[in-house]
Every structure is written in structure tokens, then in C-alpha cells.
């Protein structure tokens, strides 16, 4: 079979412009904020318990340090989500799928469709409450190169999956 970009010269390839990218659903931001906050509730409860049972009563400074460390980490995670959310975006191109993420450390990952092994749609409990899905794309490049795009609408995730699966099937 002939791939349609065989004759295309490299300059004709679509360039990655940020305006072409499709942003992640905005309610995914709320999801991330909630999830990260839930994550911090556990150590917080732990410290409060230590406080109440006055385990650290003789070391009041340690207690304050613990409170502030957890609080700062929580604030940091929230800031990163709020600032970085607008950078989360994906684009499905003719021959590959591109996903970018990160605020301080930004990564743009490209997976060519003809290198995708299989796809998976996942939906955890919390994601289900937000009626969002997560698309996981597996390649032979090992765990590090597997890509997961979270915060897609279930029907969008399904559509991308079908689209790519069709492409894989025709390639083989």
C-alpha cells in the first residue's frame, strides 16, 4: 500500500503551530484541582491527628514546619495546574498524534500512527463523576513512551481511538 505522504517533501509537512492544538476540556482543570487537593488531605489529616493527640507537643516548631510544608506543596500543585492547564493540548494529524503538557517543564510528544501498538480508554471513579475519559496510547518504546491524554470527552476519546485503530488496521 502507498502512504499518501510518500511524495510529500519535508517542507510541506504541517508545522506544529500552537493555534492548531485542541485544548483539553476545561472541567478537567476542576478535576485536577480536586484530585490534587484530595491527595493532600491525607497527610493533612495525619498532621492534625498528631496535633490533637499532642504527639509533637514538645516540638511545636516541627509541627508548624509540617503544616507549612504540606500547605506549600498543595499551593504549588494548585498553581501549576492553574498556570499549566492552558498548555495541555493535543492534535490528531494525518499521520501522528501530538500531545503537549507541562508548565515549567514542557513536553511535546509525537507518536506516529504507524508505531502505535494499541489504545485503551480508561475512566476512573473521579473521572467518571466528571464524565471524562483518559486515552492511553501504547507503543513498543516501553513505559516511558506510552502517552496518556486525560480529560477528553468520552465520545471524543472513542472517536480518536476508532480513527487510529482504523489506520493501524489498514497499515497491516
Amino acid at each position: 500500500m502507498i502512504l499518501d505522504n510518500k511524495s510529500v517533501s519535508i517542507d510541506d509537512l504541517p508545522k506544529l503551530n500552537s493555534e492548531d492544538f485542541i485544548p483539553i476540556e476545561s472541567k478537567f482543570r476542576t478535576y485536577l484541582l480536586l484530585r490534587n487537593s484530595l491527595f493532600f488531605i491525607i497527610p493533612f489529616i495525619g498532621i492534625i491527628a498528631l496535633h490533637i493527640f499532642s504527639v509533637l507537643a514538645d516540638n511545636i516548631w516541627l509541627q508548624y514546619t509540617l503544616y507549612s510544608v504540606v500547605l506549600l506543596l498543595w499551593l504549588y500543585s494548585i498553581t501549576i495546574v492553574i498556570l499549566g492547564f492552558s498548555h495541555k493540548a493535543y492534535i490528531l494529524r494525518n499521520h501522528d498524534i501530538v500531545y503537549k503538557t507541562g508548565f515549567i517543564f514542557r513536553t511535546t510528544t509525537v507518536i506516529p500512527k504507524n508505531r502505535i501498538q494499541h489504545l485503551e480508554i480508561r475512566q476512573g471513579v473521579l473521572l467518571r463523576i466528571f464524565s471524562l475519559s483518559k486515552l492511553v496510547i501504547y507503543t513498543a518504546g516501553g513505559n516511558a513512551s506510552d502517552l496518556s491524554i486525560s480529560g477528553l470527552k468520552p465520545d471524543v476519546a472513542e472517536k480518536i481511538k476508532e480513527e487510529i485503530s482504523r489506520k493501524i488496521a489498514t497499515n497491516e
Binding site: 500500500m1 502512504l3 505522504n5 510518500k6 510529500v8 519535508i10 509537512l13 508545522k15 506544529l16 499521520h95 501522528d96 508548565f103 515549567i104 517543564f105 514542557r106 513536553t107 511535546t108 510528544t109 509525537v110 507518536i111 506516529p112 500512527k113 504507524n114 508505531r115 507503543t139 513498543a140 518504546g141 516501553g142 513505559n143 516511558a144 513512551s145 502517552l147
Partner: protein, 505 residues
């Protein structure tokens, strides 16, 4: 050839029972040797001799029974397009492997197997679940026929006559092109130029592990000897210490010569039917068949001594789908000269003279970043050491820290200078190294995915890092290159991957 009905369940060769028993015994010894050592060296009490005798008898009986049952319940067959192995008597396990998914079939022979005239056959597969089947005791002819059968069923068609002859000396090389043959001299050269410092550290590690295991079994008594030992060391003069260091280095060299010869004795690499065939080993003879299409990355390493002697070490990384790279998937050949290097690259890439672009170097900011990073680690470690042990607060410590920093500076400067990449229509070459040089080569179309990484600091300076993921389970990083170059490289590689119809494995 006589044909075996593979659809019927087969057992391994009856003589293999001995191998099963030996394996079981080895496992027991490995787990229980400190206890046994204690039992042997403890003064024996007459009254307990009987007890030991009966324990030994019962132990032997269990080993025999276990081997017999394991042997009996291990069956393998080929049904439809699946290779099926059943094993276990208490916990029954059925492994089935789609023949199309088989990556490589390796035949090996250790010394016990050589005596018994048997071989082991390992089947490596690609799959999310790491399925690996190992038949440890089958007759050579059976192994050969099985290898053939698997090759003919799978669509790889890479196993060839010449790979089948287990006797390396009779290998029919008419259809094959010999690439490398290592003499004892080559092996000695390779061994001498090894990184002995690394080996020494490994020996220390092993000795320490051995020591801690011993001290657990013998309590008290060992500590006494160590204390004596430490006292003697403290009384040594500088001359003696120099002598000891030299002695240890020579010892390490001899150990690595022996190790290299035992492992790589009579190494031969030849090419036939689109596969590299590799044969080596003194006691454990290994035969490895590497289909060229499955090679993902090759890496050439040298160090100053090897450069002088004119050879490099080759590592070949094959496709592996398991999360963890299996040890066997990384094959290394200790010595290759320039001609052999060219021959291997020609077989692998299908062309003799790649036309590379200019070497593109890493941005100087990379050096500054790694230097700051490592300095911070060293300084914070030093600071915490000095704070906890006030005795260390002396000018000698600061001189030591200064020397360490200088060493670090020199090493990282080398690391920065040697970082570069260049690209050909079909091949990506990434260079790195500190004291030695290492060159990684991958065919562009075999890349699995690409990441373009840029922190906001890098964005301010207009640099980016490209990370290339491969099916060998490892990734190749090209750090801190100009933004435009990075984007161009990524687009070019994507173009090559997406336009390729070749099977990447």
C-alpha cells in the same frame, strides 16, 4: 529429516533429569550455603551425626522427587500457531506463545549439558506480558528441528542451516559472510583495556555482600578478624600501600582476562539470511541468532587505551516489549576493529557510506546546568558531612572538596564537548562520553516516538531537548540544542517514520 509430531506433547530428554536435579540442588545451595557452612565447620557432636545423615537422605529424596515430577510435568507442543509449554505439579502453569510473536530462538549449552550431549533452547517473545519459555534439556537434533519448525511457521524466516550446527568448528559458512572472529590475543587486549576501576568497585561490592552474609552466619568471630585486619592496615607504610594497590590492580586485570576468555572464547559473528549469528563461550557455549531487522540500536564504545589499540566495543540492542530490558537482549562484542565496524554497519544499514550532516553540538548552557547540578550534590553532601562530624572541619577537607570540584569540572567539560549528533537520510548518530567515546546509531524509521522537551528557562535561551524512544526499551536523548534545530530534527525524523513501510522489527 525425521519428523516429530509436534502436535503431540513432548517431554524433554530423559537424561535431562540430571539437569533438573542439578538445578534444584544449585537453587538449594544458593539459598542455604551459609547454614551448610556453619554445620560443616561446627564441631560435630557424635549424637547429632545420625540426624545429619537422615536430613541428608530426606533432602536427597526430595530433590529427586521434585526433579522427577518437574521433569514429568514439563511438556511442550505446537498446536495451530501456538507453542505451548505446560509445567508444574503443585501449581500448574500453561504458557502459550503465538509463534508469530517469537523474537528469537537461542540455543545454549553449558558444561553439564556438553557432557550429557543436550542443549537448552530459549524462546524469547515480544508481548506485553513477558513470556519466555526455556527448555533446559533437549537433544541437539530435537532443538535443531524445533528451531526450524518455529522459523518456518513464523513469518520471520530467519533461522538458517548454518545457525543450526551447534558445533562451531563445523559451521558451514558457504552461504554466510564471516564478520568477526576473535582470537585469544584479541580477548586479552579487550580484557586489559577494560575499565578496571569499575571492576574493582564491583569486587568490593561483592566482597562486602559476602562479608555481611558471613558475619550474619558466624556472628562475633568474624568481627575479631576484621578488627585485627584494620589494625594491620593502619600500621602499613606508604610503600606497602602502593604495593597493595598495584597488586590489586594486577589481580583485577587477571580476573578480567580470565572472565573475558571464559565468556567470549572463540567468538564468531557472521551474517546469513538477514541475521547475525553469534557463537561464543568456553564452558557455556552460546549461540545467538539476531535477525537484523530486530536490531534497534547499536552502540560503539571506546576508551583511550582501546583507541590506541584500535578497537571498539559493540553493544547491540534488540527489540523488547517488556517493560524491563532483559539482560539477554543486550548483546556485546568486546572487540571490533575499524573494518569490522564498517562491515557490521553495512549489513545493518544496507549501505556502506552514510552521508552525515555536520556534527551538531550541544549548547554551552548544558555544561553550566550539569556542572551546577553535580556541584550542588557534592557541596550539600560535603556540608552535611562536615556539620555532622566537626572533626572534618579542617583545611584538608576544603582542599579535597576543591580537588573534587576540579575533577568534576574536567569530566563534565569532556561530557559537554563530546555531546553531539549528526544525521543521515536513514541513520541518526548520537555521540557522548567523558573519558571514552560512545556512539549510538539508530535507523530513523525504527524510532517509536519523539518528545520535544523545553523548560521555561530553556525557552528563554532558545534551546530544547529531543528525546527519541526506541523499541529496545531505552531512549536516546539529545540535550540542549537550538530550538529551530530541534524542531527541524523532530520533523525530519517524523517524516522518515511516517513515510516508512518497512517493518521496524
Amino acid at each position: 529429516m525425521s519428523s516429530i509430531d509436534w502436535t503431540k506433547e513432548q517431554r524433554q530428554a530423559p537424561l535431562g533429569l540430571l539437569l533438573f536435579a542439578a538445578n534444584t540442588l544449585r537453587k538449594i545451595l544458593k539459598a542455604a550455603w551459609p547454614v551448610l557452612l556453619v554445620l560443616i565447620f561446627k564441631e560435630s557432636e557424635k549424637s547429632k551425626d545420625d540426624l545429619y545423615f537422615w536430613t541428608a537422605i530426606i533432602g536427597a529424596f526430595f530433590i529427586l522427587a521434585h526433579s522427577l515430577l518437574s521433569f514429568w510435568y514439563f511438556r511442550f507442543s505446537i498446536v495451530d500457531n501456538e507453542f505451548i509449554a505446560k509445567k508444574g505439579y503443585l501449581k500448574k502453569i500453561k504458557l502459550s506463545v503465538d509463534i508469530d510473536r517469537i523474537q528469537t530462538v537461542n540455543i545454549k549449552q553449558n558444561i553439564l549439558q556438553q557432557i550429557l550431549g543436550l542443549v537448552s533452547l530459549e524462546i524469547d517473545t515480544a508481548g506485553a506480558k513477558d513470556a519466555e519459555i526455556k527448555l533446559i534439556a533437549i537433544k541437539k537434533e530435537v532443538a535443531v528441528e524445533l528451531e526450524k519448525k518455529l522459523a518456518e511457521k513464523s513469518n520471520i524466516k530467519n533461522t538458517v542451516e548454518s545457525s543450526i550446527d551447534t558445533d562451531a568448528n563445523n559451521t558451514d559458512t558457504t552461504a554466510a559472510k564471516s564478520i568477526i572472529e576473535l582470537s585469544i590475543e584479541d580477548l586479552v587486549k579487550a580484557a586489559i583495556s577494560e575499565n578496571h576501576l569499575k571492576n574493582l568497585l564491583m569486587i568490593f561490592g561483592l566482597t562486602y555482600g559476602f562479608y555481611s552474609q558471613l558475619s550474619r552466619s558466624f556472628q562475633g568471630s568474624i568481627e575479631k578478624y576484621t578488627e585485627q585486619g584494620i589494625n594491620t592496615i593502619q600500621s602499613f607504610s606508604i610503600k606497602t600501600i602502593v604495593f597493595i594497590v598495584v597488586f590489586i590492580l594486577i589481580f583485577a586485570m587477571i580476573v578480567s582476562i580470565i572472565k573475558t576468555i571464559v565468556k567470549f572464547y572463540n567468538l564468531k559473528l557472521w551474517e546469513a539470511n538477514n541475521s547475525f549469528l553469534l557463537n561464543f563461550g568456553l564452558f557455556n557455549i552460546k549461540k545467538i541468532n539476531i535477525p537484523i531487522s530486530k536490531i534497534q540500536i547499536i552502540k560503539w564504545d571506546n576508551n583511550p587505551i582501546r583507541k590506541m589499540l584500535g578497537f571498539k566495543t559493540l553493544s547491540i540492542k534488540q527489540a523488547s516489549s517488556g517493560a524491563q530490558m532483559k539482560k539477554d537482549q543486550r548483546i556485546s562484542i568486546p572487540a571490533c576493529n575499524k573494518d569490522q565496524q564498517i562491515a557490521i554497519e553495512e549489513s545493518l544499514f544496507g549501505k556502506s557510506k552514510p552521508i552525515f550532516s555536520e556534527k551538531i553540538k550541544t549548547h554551552p548552557i548544558y555544561f553550566i546546568k550539569i556542572f551546577i547540578l553535580f556541584s550542588l550534590i557534592i557541596l550539600s553532601l560535603a556540608a552535611s558531612l562536615i556539620m555532622s562530624e566537626p572533626i572534618l572541619y579542617s583545611y584538608q577537607s576544603f582542599i579535597l572538596i576543591g580537588v573534587l570540584e576540579l575533577l568534576l569540572l574536567a569530566l563534565l567539560l569532556l561530557e559537554y564537548k563530546k555531546r553531539s549528533f549528526r544525521i543521515d537520510e536513514d541513520i541518526l548518530e548520537v555521540n557522548s562520553g567523558q573519558i571514552g567515546d560512545s556512539i549510538q546509531l539508530i535507523q530513523n524509521y525504527k524510532i517509536q516516538s519523539i518528545a520535544y522537551k523545553q523548560s521555561i528557562f530553556m525557552k528563554m535561551r532558545g534551546t530544547a531537548t529531543i528525546k527519541v524512544y526506541t523499541a529496545a526499551g531505552t531512549n536516546i536523548t539529545i540535550p540542549y540544542i537550538a530550538e529551530d534545530t530541534a524542531a527541524e530534527l523532530m520533523n525530519f525524523l517524523l517524516y522518515k517514520i511516517e513515510g516508512s513501510e518497512d517493518k521496524w522489527m
